[in-house]
């Protein structure tokens, strides 16, 4: 009897102590300098690894707001990692109803796009092995060759304490970034793209999020029954642009990640994709597509056309009778320079 009473008291004492500690942690009274020390102790390479890993491996569900070029779009995101595959479901919350369901492992990456008003599913299959070996994502070291990492303050995003990281571009060929990373899990909760005047031209941010919770797989299924829907596969295959006589040098500080042949708006085209680990640039070549004059009122971009919208720059240019189009989340000077460097050498 006495033993039970003693045990009960001990338990409640332990409980009280636990709560007191918990309160101190929650109010940040215990964090302070030791956490700052921890943050500094982490190397730049490790920070990038942490953020990248968390994107794949952390379970989360929340609402993301994307803003760029005067547009704002919200989506609901659910992401689950089961130890081998990551599963992701994105539901648009405004505009036309869309869902994107992605399944990703080390070897494969598939996105299913659901278009309910057309009763259509488009499947994009990215065979990771088909991209140049080892180049599907740039190494942290490569990224740090092109960007300087700086630690900022600890700030709250969606109610969660985040470490702010700044990635400052080392040249003018790319934009800079601010990243807010959950200190506990490494998940990126907010990202801003900054132009050369340090203006924010793009922002992706969670407005609410739950991290690390167990997620039921039923939450990863689309909202609609897709019986009778048509299924399209996004169609592209590996290609070698140089074999077709095209020389497409990589922009400074970018590396080629893929070369494919595909169709764009009804024409045959080739696409070379370059990445610096953060930004991507695509070069499209439509050979001999300008043999016939464009129909009056058609929407072909004419002559040399440079456009930007938010973080995206696009530029179109004739090379002979072929159309070269460059698109990327880079400053306009970069897409213009890339387009200018494309040459047709002729086939052997």
């Amino acid at each position: 009897m006495q033993a039970v009473a003693v045990r009960a008291n001990q338990k409640s004492a332990r409980l009280a102590h636990g709560l007191a500690t918990a309160l101190l942690v929650a109010t940040g009274a215990l964090s302070g300098s030791s956490v700052a020390q921890e943050s500094r102790a982490r190397t730049d390479v490790q920070w990038i690894q942490v953020v990248r890993q968390a994107a794949q491996r952390v379970n989360y569900q929340g609402t993301v707001v994307y803003q760029a070029g005067g547009e704002m779009r919200s989506s609901r995101i659910t992401h689950l990692f089961d130890g081998t595959n990551s599963h992701e479901r994105i539901q648009t919350l405004d505009g036309k109803a869309r869902e994107y369901i992605r399944r990703r492992s080390n070897a494969s990456d598939q996105v299913q796009c659901f278009i309910p008003e057309a009763r259509r599913i488009v499947i994009e299959e990215r065979n990771v092995e088909e991209s140049f070996p080892g180049l599907s994502s740039a190494s942290p070291e490569e990224i740090l060759e092109r960007y300087q990492l700086k630690l900022g303050e600890v700030e709250r995003v969606a109610g969660i304490e985040c470490q702010m990281l700044m990635l400052e571009p080392k040249d003018n060929a790319r934009y800079g970034y601010r990243l807010w990373v959950d200190r506990a899990s490494g998940l990126l909760l907010r990202a801003q793209t900054l132009n050369e005047r340090r203006e924010v031209i793009e922002q992706i941010a969670f407005t609410d999020v739950r991290i690390g919770e167990r997620i039921d797989r039923s939450k990863l299924r689309p909202a609609w029954s897709t019986e009778g829907w048509s299924v399209e596969r996004s169609d592209y295959r590996k290609a070698d642009l140089s074999q077709h006589g095209w020389l497409v040098p990589a922009p400074t500080g970018f590396r080629k990640t893929r070369e494919v042949a595909r169709r764009i708006a009804g024409s045959d085209a080739m696409q070379a994709v370059f990445s610096d680990g953060l930004a991507t640039v695509s070069v499209f070549i439509e050979p001999h597509s300008l043999l016939s004059a464009p129909a009056p009122g058609s929407q072909m971009p004419s002559g040399d056309a440079l456009q930007i919208h938010g973080p995206t720059s696009a530029f179109s240019r004739r090379v002979g009778d072929s159309l070269v189009t460059v698109v990327g989340e880079v400053p306009p000077s970069t897409v213009r320079a890339v387009a200018g460097s494309v040459e047709f050498r002729g086939t052997r």
């Binding site: 890993q53 005067g70 601010r178």
Partner: protein, 197 residues
């Protein structure tokens, strides 16, 4: 305390700072946080100490179930260790302290305020355009702050009023499809304009 010959035998490889008895205490979780951290560090650094950890666990396992203890646990643990060694190293900035009940990432009542606040922090283009009007109608409160919380400069309004020429849409779609995995989520890959797909 009597020291039997067998006790001395087993203590042969215990380090100066971490005795086998302390490993036994750590196993039971009956150690204060600071000493535990040091003990764990010592264990992680010394394979011979880990051997003691294994043997002491095995003793308890054997007591509970001779079948399970007889199974080739050592071999299994070594195979798992080899499999883990081959894995890319897991890194997280800092583990959360267990704070049950006090940690809330999302309070339903606050969500609306939070998203409204986030929206209000981003500048809306000053030039009225059809897009701007529809956005304002749907989700932005009428008072719009123009200062982002972390940046001192408002969101750029470059070319805000013009979208990209719609003829770029198929290129954009094809570009976003092959963006691959960047540190920046570019969940924009999915947050596409619905005209693209």
């Amino acid at each position: 305390m009597e020291q039997t010959a067998s006790n001395q035998g087993l203590n042969n490889r215990a380090s100066a700072t971490l005795t086998m008895e302390r490993i036994s205490v750590l196993l039971d979780g009956e150690m204060d946080r600071t000493e535990a951290a040091a003990a764990i560090a010592a264990l992680c650094a010394d394979p011979a100490l880990r051997r003691h950890w294994h043997e002491l666990h095995r003793a308890g396992d054997a007591l509970r179930s001779q079948e399970v203890a007889a199974g080739d646990a050592e071999d299994f643990c070594r195979r798992v260790a080899a499999a883990i060694a081959a894995e890319p190293t897991v890194l997280a900035p800092r583990a959360a302290k267990p704070v049950s009940g006090l940690r809330r990432y999302w309070a339903p009542g606050l969500a609306v305020a939070a998203s409204a606040a986030a929206v209000a922090l981003i500048a809306v283009p000053l030039m009225p355009t059809p897009e701007t009007v529809s956005i304002a109608k749907n989700s932005i409160p009428s008072q719009v702050a123009t200062v982002d919380v972390a940046a001192q400069k408002p969101l750029s309004t470059i070319a805000a009023a013009r979208g990209l020429n719609p003829s770029f849409s198929p290129y954009l779609a094809a570009h976003r499809e092959l963006i691959g995995n960047s540190v920046v989520p570019r969940a924009t890959v999915y947050l596409r304009s619905s005209e693209e797909r």
